[in-house]
Structure formats: structure tokens, C-alpha cells
């Protein structure tokens, strides 16, 4: 694996498989009575979040602490960034404090890539604009692997439903799914699908209903209400009518189809509450597995290559 995790492209199929194996062993660690190992003692992990994200930030910080790393948090509202400090100055200040890894969330695509060129620490992309969110892709695959009790995704039929165009989760998770052999169909109105599908290696459907009886996984993306204002679809009500996973639609799925969502959910919009909480949903497991995946990523970037125990 390269020194950074900026994109799923940095992993490739074999890298994804390796990270999933490693993550599985960290799941075991997180289930211990004392879920902590000394693997990264003496290492420092900084989180630099230019965009609010309690879930991802806490998940990374928990992962770092369970590996015995020291953590620093740069919450942007309380830092000098509000005083107009540039991104480069901010990260160089953090680097000067002596950090081994920086976990970056930024509203603009490619910000972590730029940072990786400016400082020596390992950079982990925790979401950049609409571009990528690679640890989300890994935790999605880990969750699927554990639920389906399989290590192969070849031929797995996945419907990714919703606002793919504006979604960094989709750009990472779809790429990872395709890399491991899944057959992905992007579902939504053309206004919410990518402008170009070149390089995506996906099918497209503007209707959800025909896919319901045959899909193995339904992956729902969050719909942001402000997209209505950009004339991307007429109303949330119409969106739900056409693409929402209602209880009625969920009833037309195969009995073993699983339902995923990266969170946070809009219950009643892209997913009905009873579906989100039903037996086919593995949404909570996605959150739980996030910690093990981020432990695996931190350990493989910062660890000395020794045993993780």
C-alpha cells in the first residue's frame, strides 16, 4: 500500500482484499474485553476536519486510540483557519508539531491530494468534496463480507440508488465494488447520475422497481433537500415515490437481499424507517465496522509491520 490513502485507486483489488483481511482481525480486537492494542504507541494521528462530521471523526479517533496512538483534533471553528490561514500554512503547522498521519475531511475535491504533496505525514482521505471517501468503501465491503459470510463478490448484484452525482461515498464504494467483481447498477433520475459514465464500469437504470426482485444488495444514498432548489428533481415527495425504499418496495426484494446506507439517513425520504430498522438492514453494522477498518488503515500506514496483537 502507498504511503497515503487518498483514493480507492491507491489500493486496487489486492490492496482492498488485504485491507479487508486486516480489518477482520481488528474486528476481533474491538470485541475484546479491553479493545486496545499497543500497535501504534508513540505515533500521533491528527484529524483535520474542514467540514462537520461527528461520525467519521469519532470513528477515526476511536480507531487511533484503540491502537494506542496519540490523537489531536483540529476543529476548524476554533482554529486559525477562521482567521484566514491558508490550507498549506495550517497543515505545515500541524506537521511542525510532529504528526505521523493526518486524517483530512474537506469540502473541496482533491484537498487531501494537495496536502500529501506538502508534508511528510501519511494523509488519509476522510472525504473530499464529491470525490472520494475510501474508508467508507472499505467498511461497506467489510460489512457485506461479514453479512454474506463470503470473501468473494464476483457477480454480486448491487443497486446503488440516489444522488450518485454529488456523492463521494458513491465514487469510492462503487469503485471498490467494481474492483472486487460486483455488478453495480446506478439508479436514479439522470440529473442525479454522473454526467459521464466513462471509467465507472456500471450499468444505469432510471427505474428502481424492475431491479427489486433480482438485486442482492440495495445501497441507498442520502438525498439532500437542497438539491430540489437546483432543479435536480421536483420534490422529496416525488423522489420517494419513484426511488424511495418504502416498506412496499422492500417487500418485493429477495428474502436474502441486504440493505445499506452510509448515513446519516433521511428516514421517510430515501428509506422508510421500518426498512432501515428491519432485519435486511445492515446499516448499524456499517457504523460498527468503521472502527475496525480505520484501525486497519492506520496500522498499515503507520505500523512497523509487526504483529497487531
Amino acid at each position: 500500500m502507498s504511503r497515503h490513502l487518498l483514493s480507492v485507486d491507491d489500493l486496487g483489488r489486492s490492496g482492498i482484499d488485504e485491507m479487508l483481511e486486516l480489518s477482520s482481525s481488528f474486528v476481533e480486537v474491538t470485541q475484546r474485553e479491553i479493545p486496545k492494542v499497543p500497535a501504534l504507541r508513540g505515533k500521533t494521528v491528527a484529524s483535520l476536519f474542514y467540514e462537520e462530521s461527528t461520525r467519521t471523526r469519532l470513528s477515526f479517533e476511536t480507531a487511533a486510540k484503540r491502537l494506542s496512538a496519540d490523537t489531536m483534533t483540529f476543529a476548524i471553528s476554533s482554529s486559525s483557519v477562521k482567521k484566514g490561514e491558508s490550507l498549506r500554512d495550517t497543515v505545515q503547522t500541524i506537521a511542525a508539531l510532529g504528526v505521523d498521519a493526518v486524517v483530512v475531511r474537506h469540502r473541496a475535491a482533491g484537498a487531501p491530494h494537495r496536502i500529501a504533496g506538502w508534508i511528510d505525514a501519511s494523509i488519509i482521505n476522510a472525504g473530499d468534496g464529491r470525490h472520494e471517501h475510501p474508508t467508507q468503501a472499505l467498511l461497506d465491503l467489510l460489512t457485506l463480507r461479514r453479512r454474506l459470510a463470503t470473501t468473494t463478490f464476483d457477480g454480486l448484484r448491487v443497486a446503488v440508488v440516489g444522488d450518485v452525482r454529488h456523492s463521494r461515498v458513491a465514487r469510492s464504494t462503487v469503485k471498490a465494488l467494481v474492483a472486487v467483481g460486483a455488478e453495480v447498477t446506478l439508479v436514479g433520475p439522470p440529473t442525479l447520475l454522473p454526467e459521464s459514465l466513462a471509467g465507472w464500469n456500471c450499468a444505469v437504470s432510471h427505474e428502481l422497481d424492475p431491479l427489486l426482485p433480482e438485486t442482492d444488495v440495495v445501497y441507498l444514498l442520502r438525498i439532500q433537500s437542497e438539491r430540489q432548489d437546483e432543479a435536480l428533481f421536483p420534490s422529496l415527495r416525488e423522489y420517494t415515490t419513484r426511488y424511495g425504499l418504502t416498506a412496499e418496495r422492500a417487500g418485493r426484494l429477495k428474502p436474502d437481499t441486504v440493505i445499506m446506507h452510509p448515513g446519516p439517513m433521511n428516514r421517510g425520504v430515501e428509506i422508510a424507517a421500518e426498512v432501515a430498522d428491519g432485519p435486511a438492514s445492515i446499516i448499524t453494522e456499517q457504523v460498527t465496522n468503521g472502527v475496525a477498518v480505520r484501525m486497519a488503515v492506520l496500522w498499515s500506514l503507520l505500523g512497523s509491520g509487526g504483529s497487531i496483537a
Binding site: L87, A109, E195, G199
Partner: protein, 430 residues
């Protein structure tokens, strides 16, 4: 002793043709063109070089007033002279914008002391806001011939129509459009297509350009006004302009070197040095721009020289300002990308860089021909020398060239402005 120099041993190329000759310059004008001119004059060696009319750039952002950290008229003009330009058209998107005579006058005054002639493009609308007409007549009185809101498109068809109609009363005036429909380009930071979709960077579709070009061609027909399209970047727009010219409309167009050299794939590493409006397009578009330059559809190569301070280009791609340097690389890119591969003859390239843009902007002391009694605005080009671009070594105050590390063929050796050598052996004299 009159102020005299002889440019010795070069190939003289201008709109009238090509010959090997010496050029004697005296008191700011060409005194004589002929073989083996001698005397006691200062000699500039031009052996193995091309002696051409000074280049003319229809599109330079000199940033003064308002952003002198990025460029000043003095530094921009020096960069221009080093690039072979003896005249540049300063774009009006300064702060304040060049929309009234006092500000335009101050730019013209500063330009008169600089290393090249600085003409001014005045705003079409007040504050470049796209609603009320700027005082085009008053600006015309102090020498403005090209009007543009560059950086912003005149989005309202009604306002564009009135500007074209009004400009008909101003001899030599031309309305220059930044053709990008703001509604279609809204929120976009690169060409919309395969790469924007992969990178998750919001896109600006090529159609943002072509719908405005199509509309303005129709408005040119409606009004009888003269339209110049700035920095064409798409195959569709080139086709529209070609068709409009076949129909005899008073339309001209320019293209920037980056639009025949670079594609949107260069945005892959998220480096904002490749961010520009209109954006870098696809291979298909690059080929169409080259064809448009070769077949005469596009009249001029213009730099769209757009300096930005380093801090601005260190922002993430979506937050960085658009634009890239161009004055010191335009000639070499033209020679390397177009002349060397055989897409253009050297004379065609010089036409696109000198006499055709001079004619568009009404700069009749520039663009040649090189003959007795003409103003001595000249450049001497070594067409064979190769060099490597290094942003830090360019004369611009800013360093945002997208060509760093690229090896180019051809470089300016001397530039003569109104008889005075302002660049000698690649070194600025002012």
C-alpha cells in the same frame, strides 16, 4: 548621431512575404530594409533568426489596478516583451474595473512607460455587471476599440443586442464576448465530462460556450455589429464560427495556447495551475482548435495571461481562482505544438500572433509590414533554440504556468518597441 540600429542577417517575415534582409531602424521607424546594410549603427545580430512584426496579444490580464501582488502593468509588459509582444490588450476585469475614462486613462499612462504598448479593452457594461452599458463612446474617444466584460459573459441577450447596436456608431469598435453561459457553467470548475465525473469536481459543459456563440452569431446578424469571441475552447464553437464566417458575418475569434496544448485530463492531480475559464477540454476539442487555427476560422492566438499569487493557487481546486500565465510561452507553444508538427506554416503562425490580432484591435502601428516608414515594432525569434519552462524564472510577478518542466522550441531573442530594443538576447532592457 540619430538613434539608429541595424538588425542584421535575419529572415524577414511579414504579411507581404519572406526575404533575407537587414533592417535599419532610425528614430522609432523602419528606415530601410535591404541586403548588407552598414554604417556605424548599433547592430543586433539576427543570424539564423526570424525578424517579424512585434506580436500582438488581444488578451492579457495585467491585474493593475487592484491586484498588484499578482502582476503590474510594468511586470506584465516586461513579460510581454520577453515573449515577443510589442502590444497587449489589457483586460478590464481589474478592481476597479476599466469601465470609465479616468481608470482607463491611468492604465494607458502606466502602459506608456512600460516595455510594450498597452491598449485597453473597456467594459461593455458598468462594473461588468451585465445590465447597464458602460460609457462606450467616452472610452472610444480615448482610444478604446475593444469592449468586453471578460471573466464574465454578457448573459442577457437583450443587453448584448444593445451593446452590438450601440457599438456600430463607434468606428472600429468590436464587442468581445467571454462565451460561457453562467447558468450552465454555474458552480463548475473544470470541463464537464469523463474527468469531472471521475474526480467529483463540478463541471462546466462545453455547451455553456457553444450556446452563447450560437446566440451571439444570431445577434450579430440581427444588429450588423462586430463580435469577437474570446478564447474559443470547444469543437462546437469552432464549427459555429466557421459557419458564420461562411455566411459573411462580421465575426472574429481567438484561441489561447492552453486550449490547443492541454486537456482536462491534466486536472487529475487536482493541481489548480490547470484551472482556467473556459476550462481545458478534450482531445477532440484540442484538435478542433488546431483545425480552426489552420483553416482561418480562428483569427488570433491570444494568451489569456492570468497571473495569480502563489497562495491563491495553493487553495483546493474548487476554491482556487481560474487562470494561467501565457505571455512568455505563447510563441514557443505555437511553434512547438503547431508549426513543428506541420499544422501551420511559420508565416501563418505569425499572422495569428501579430498582424491579424493587430487588425482586430485596430492597432495600426503594430503587425507590420516591415518596410520603410513603418513604426519599428519588431521581434527577432530564434525558431530552433530549445528551452525548458520554469515558472520561477519567468518575468511575471506570479509563477502560475502550467508548462513548468516542459521543453519548448523557439524563443524570442530581441524585441524592438518603437525603435528601442526592449529585449536584447533574451534579456529585458527596461
Amino acid at each position: 548621431m540619430p538613434d539608429e540600429l541595424v538588425i542584421r542577417g535575419g529572415r524577414v517575415i511579414d504579411a507581404t512575404g519572406e526575404r533575407t534582409a537587414d533592417v535599419r531602424v532610425r528614430d522609432g521607424i523602419v528606415a530601410e530594409v535591404g541586403e548588407r546594410l552598414d554604417g556605424t549603427a548599433r547592430v543586433l545580430d539576427a543570424a539564423g533568426c526570424v525578424v517579424a512584426p512585434g506580436l500582438v496579444d488581444l488578451h492579457a490580464h495585467l491585474r493593475e489596478p487592484g491586484d498588484e501582488e499578482a502582476e503590474t502593468i510594468e511586470t506584465g509588459a516586461r513579460a510581454a516583451a520577453l515573449g515577443g509582444f510589442t502590444a497587449v490588450l489589457a483586460m478590464p476585469n481589474t478592481e476597479p474595473p476599466l469601465d470609465e475614462p479616468a481608470v482607463v486613462g491611468s492604465v494607458l499612462a502606466a502602459g506608456a512607460r512600460s516595455s510594450c504598448d498597452v491598449a485597453v479593452a473597456g467594459c461593455i457594461t458598468k462594473g461588468r455587471a451585465g445590465t447597464e452599458l458602460a460609457p462606450m463612446g467616452e472610452l472610444h474617444t480615448i482610444g478604446v476599440r475593444v469592449f468586453t466584460d471578460d471573466g464574465a459573459c454578457v448573459a442577457s441577450a437583450g443587453v448584448m443586442r444593445r451593446a452590438l447596436e450601440y457599438a456600430r456608431s463607434l468606428p472600429g469598435a468590436v464587442v468581445a464576448q467571454h462565451a460561457e453561459d453562467p447558468a450552465l457553467a454555474a458552480g463548475g470548475h473544470m470541463h464537464e465530462g469523463e474527468w469531472s465525473s471521475r474526480l467529483g469536481i463540478p463541471g462546466r459543459p462545453g455547451e455553456a460556450e457553444s450556446v452563447i456563440v450560437a446566440r451571439d452569431v444570431m445577434l450579430a446578424e440581427l444588429t450588423g455589429g462586430r463580435v469577437h469571441f474570446l478564447h474559443l475552447s470547444t469543437a462546437a464553437a469552432v464549427d459555429l464560427v466557421r459557419d458564420a464566417k461562411h455566411r459573411g458575418l462580421a465575426i472574429t475569434a481567438e484561441a489561447a495556447p492552453h486550449h490547443f496544448t492541454l486537456t482536462d485530463a491534466r486536472c487529475e492531480a487536482f493541481d489548480p495551475v490547470f484551472k482556467v475559464h473556459p476550462p481545458l477540454r478534450t482531445d477532440v476539442d484540442v484538435d478542433a482548435i488546431k483545425r480552426g487555427l489552420a483553416d482561418g476560422t480562428i483569427d488570433a492566438i491570444a494568451t489569456d495571461h492570468a497571473p495569480h499569487v502563489p497562495e491563491a493557487k495553493e487553495r483546493p481546486f474548487e476554491e482556487a481562482p481560474p487562470g494561467m500565465l501565457g505571455l512568455e510561452t505563447a510563441l514557443a507553444l505555437t511553434l512547438t505544438e503547431l508549426v513543428e508538427p506541420g499544422a501551420l506554416t511559420l508565416t501563418d503562425a505569425l499572422a495569428l500572433l501579430s498582424w491579424r490580432p493587430a487588425a482586430i484591435a485596430g492597432l495600426d502601428t503594430h503587425g507590420g509590414p516591415i518596410e520603410a516608414d513603418r513604426p519599428a515594432n519588431l521581434c527577432v525569434i530564434d525558431p530552433a533554440v530549445t528551452w525548458e519552462v520554469d515558472g520561477a524564472r519567468l518575468a511575471s510577478r506570479a509563477h502560475n504556468t502550467p508548462y513548468g518542466g516542459r521543453k519548448l522550441t523557439g524563443r524570442v531573442r530581441h524585441t524592438i518597441l518603437r525603435g528601442e530594443p526592449v529585449v536584447v538576447d533574451g534579456v529585458a532592457q527596461r
